[in-house]
Assembly symmetry: C2
Homo-oligomer: 289 residues x 2
């Protein structure tokens, strides 16, 4: 039997002792000036970032929008960068596609076939038959939008039937879809309490958690509430905080230092969580869960 | 003041006496064999379809998935076909993008900037701040997913707060976003009653209505319930039913005949609707609205 995505994620994360995802949201305007502009500058920049961080990153997330903005040249850079991600890291296509079944079949072909990504983000709102083509291969993961980190998340994701808000209902629905171990959820790190609620609904699903930074006070809460009971099954993504740490010739070293600090901060928070969990009840009671 | 998207749509539709949108969901496997395969075959096919139908079609809708499946070559075909759509027709980017604001800014650049589409489909579920970059230019329209035509539409779009289902709430929310005359809705043609409900919530928004065919019994109901009170402000899309009408050398003529029949059937249903509306009450009562 093939290894499911969730098994592969858990194994890789244990091997690397990392839950860090580096987001390659590359903006040409923010590249170090000495690299120039255009496709080769984007690929040179991305290659240097990947080479400098591949031993500390569990995954890389490519945000398609930042490449599509440059048309054919951007799409070529996307494919070139995807090919540079080593096999000991997961390549996540952050494309958030969502359409009816015959269209999703083509998106699945693009993302998992033509480009060979290990996982993708997707929109669940067209329902089960729409997402089935994305879930056909149990070795490829799909992180469904559940609760996002922007203010407008409240416009729809908090719409409630009196018992559950849409994001809770979404989490429960995606759990019901997960027959092959390849469903996950996108849950913003900015919502500590809601993150805990989603984790209680979906204890065994991997979460992709955007919106963290090494300096952010939310990191510990995100790790505490976002990981599973073993302190695993979460990908914590940082993009701009890593990519643009320095605009000088040391940009890749600076990115590496930031990535390493973030990986270590995540691991420290995981240790805290597991230690607290293993302490006698009298002590755990005082922990603000 | 610049002409808003909705004004432009109404004017073009009146000039052409057409509400037909031709969906260019081009599948290489379904191309007439004599055209061969690959990018040039896709572009040759699309060009012939556009040239044969441009006087009867109000709009063309390019479904990005069908191009992305072929990577860089597919993206190039997408750009080439977009450039072939004449300015007396609307070019609709059917990409259904949905992400947070800084990412949507890049998708807006790709779709409205780099490729110069007149309108796009989008996912509303990340809320107002997420979609604002797409709505920045009042001359470009955005059709937000509201109610889709697939069975799984029920999984989320019928989620109810006791008063309204999510698709009704979505319609009302998009109405509240429409300060510049460039918001629209995607509403599946397979739901006659629901289409009428959405039209009553959003009387002045343009609808993009997929899922129709010249032979489909639903066409009259879709026109009756989907157009506005003037029998306007709707784009009725057909893709496969037009593109693959013939696999012989006459494929473009066959597509034209089908497009013309569909445009005429839509116009006949519009006339019926307006005639019924203008008849004395005694007669209208018998009409099954």
């Amino acid at each position: 039997m093939a290894t499911s995505f969730v098994q592969r994620l858990r194994k890789l994360a244990q091997d690397k002792q990392s839950l860090l995802c580096v987001g390659l949201d590359i903006e040409q305007e923010r590249l170090p000036a000495f690299l120039g502009r255009g496709r080769s500058a984007v690929v040179d920049f991305g290659r240097a970032i990947i080479e400098a961080t591949a031993d500390v990153a569990l995954a890389y997330k490519l945000n398609f929008a930042f490449f599509e903005a440059y048309g054919v040249d951007g799409w070529r850079a996307l494919e070139e960068l995807r090919a540079l991600i080593p096999s000991h890291c997961l390549a996540v296509a952050d494309a958030k596609r969502g359409d009816i079944g015959n269209t999703m079949r083509m998106y699945a072909r693009a993302i998992f076939g033509t480009m060979g990504f290990d996982a993708a983000t997707a929109s669940p709102y067209l329902g089960r038959d729409a997402v089935e083509p994305l879930l056909a291969d149990p070795t490829r993961g799909v992180f469904f939008l559940c609760l996002t980190s922007n203010p407008g998340a409240r416009d729809f994701q908090y719409f409630s039937d009196g018992h559950r808000r849409l994001f809770e209902y979404t989490a429960a629905t995606v759990v019901s879809w997960d027959s092959a171990g390849n469903c996950g959820l996108v849950v913003g790190a900015t919502h500590g309490e809601e993150l805990a609620q989603v984790r209680s609904i979906a204890p065994a699903l991997p979460f992709l958690i955007p919106g963290i930074g090494a300096q952010g006070g939310d990191l510990e809460a995100a790790v505490l509430h976002g990981t599973d009971e073993r302190g695993e099954l979460a990908l914590f993504n940082s993009s701009r905080g890593i990519l643009y740490k320095s605009s000088g010739h040391d940009f890749a070293e600076a990115a590496r230092a930031e990535a390493q600090a973030l990986r270590d901060a995540i691991n420290a928070a995981r240790s805290d969580k597991l230690r607290t969990r293993n302490e006698p009840p009298a002590s755990s009671v005082s922990h603000p869960v």
